[in-house]
Symmetry: C2
């Protein structure tokens, strides 16, 4: 099977993928952006893909939600939770006092800012598009004055060393990834269903009516978040995750009622919960 | 009055600030991050501050919401809407065919990707921490092969030229900024109130109960969004904007009822609506 992932080699996404699919049995193909991964699955270039959807510190990954909402017909087939361990990575044998510049994805740096401030009085921070790219670029420079924030997986791939372990300011840092494809996940009795509700007009009170459909059927929601429609300022759509499977009667009936009330309800998949 | 803004000079934030306060009458002080601006207001280093809170394409600005939720006691005193016009900016007289590298804040580039792909078959993209920094760095390099995505305001400040106007893929691109300080805005009869609801335990059904308090009093919500608590994966708090002022009886009573139900309701301010 061909599986697309958010690259380059050594990202947290590839690490999450390797947790559930073996690289010996499947072909992993790297794509530069979340949108490229999802487009490759839609186009049938790859059989499945994996992208991050939510992080316990940063919240939702907007690019993933927006692409699933507006530009794709793929389904979520599975979720994968990965604990994020940010390390300071550099050339083997480097000591902290040698480091003058840290290369980092801005979000990773933001998550480690307080810890790093304690270690480094003065250090320059240079941005990178991903943690894996930051690590790769330190490896290419081969300079002890430069270090990167990234994972142990990337340090190994690019022949570098973890200089300081676990530099995140938040001890519980988890990212939720989703495997996307074109199949409905089988009903396991311990499932989750994801949908998007397009509310249409300017009536935020409609959210109450949506929630009542779930409450009426004792459906537990695990997440609800809004995103702009990108058409008109102040207009939103809602991403809702709930416990249950599309083949469960109460879920089927809730979605049917919502479809009567709202201009569009997009089904994003039913899949086994990971906990 | 001293007013802190998200810098460096030439950001969209400074442009929004200049819409409502004159730089001739007040001292504008630049801070490198949203958190630094809010901290400066909390510490009394500046009288007021301005930060972006929401964009019509990208959604909420997480750093602003999180800092207001967890680390600050400032109030929102006013909102400012600014239409965002991204331009391609470079050395005067540069032609598109000369440009080999575009420096950009990753979000600005993401918003112009499709338009730029039509103009440039192959171009390298380098990340910057802000659009203003991208423009500044082109000015420092003084090289026709390099251009930046930014606003006309920054082009003028750094002595550069708008090479291609309005390169955004989205015609309606608006950012909502908030002026923060320590005062409750006066009741004008056309107001908005912002709060944060901490739900506490793992019962997403509680959101329904929250919304019923507003619906019962015919309070119109203009925005609702969730953010992770950063403590436990799957635990959220809700940011709610509503029409009305803290001094309106129905708003006061809704907040009082919510305080009885929830472990914490944080008041973020009442201020005149901008529309």
């Amino acid at each position: 099977m061909k599986i697309g992932f958010l690259g380059p080699q050594g990202t947290y996404t590839e690490e999450a993928l390797a947790k559930v699919f073996s690289p010996d049995e499947h072909e992993f193909i790297s794509y530069p952006t979340v949108s490229d991964v999802i487009e490759a699955v839609d186009a049938g270039e790859v059989d499945k893909g994996i992208v991050p959807i939510e992080n316990s510190i940063e919240g939702s990954v907007s690019e993933t939600l927006d692409h699933l909402a507006f530009d794709s017909e793929v389904l979520i087939e599975r979720e994968v939770l990965l604990t994020i361990h940010h390390h300071l990575i550099g050339i083997k044998g480097t000591t902290a006092s040698e480091i003058k510049t840290i290369i980092s994805h801005p979000q990773a740096y933001a998550q480690c800012r307080k810890t790093l401030k304690k270690v480094f009085k003065e250090v320059k921070v240079e941005p990178a598009f991903s943690t894996a790219e930051a690590v790769k670029s330190v490896s290419e420079k081969g300079d002890c004055k430069v270090a990167a924030i990234g994972n142990a997986f990337a340090a190994e791939i690019y022949g570098l060393e973890v200089l300081i372990r676990d530099i995140s300011d938040y001890p519980d840092n988890t990212t939720r990834f989703v495997i996307i494809g074109k199949e409905l996940g089988p009903r396991t009795g311990y499932d989750k269903t994801s949908i998007i509700c397009f509310i249409g007009d300017d009536r935020p009170g409609k959210l109450l009516e949506i929630l009542q459909e779930f409450s009426y059927r004792y459906i537990n929601l695990t997440k609800i978040t809004s995103r702009p429609t990108k058409k008109k300022f102040g207009e939103y759509l809602f991403f809702i995750d709930m416990e249950g499977h599309l083949e469960d009667d109460h879920i089927k009936s809730a979605l049917a009622c919502l479809r009567c009330k709202l201009p569009l309800v997009k089904f994003l998949g039913s899949y086994r919960r990971s906990s």
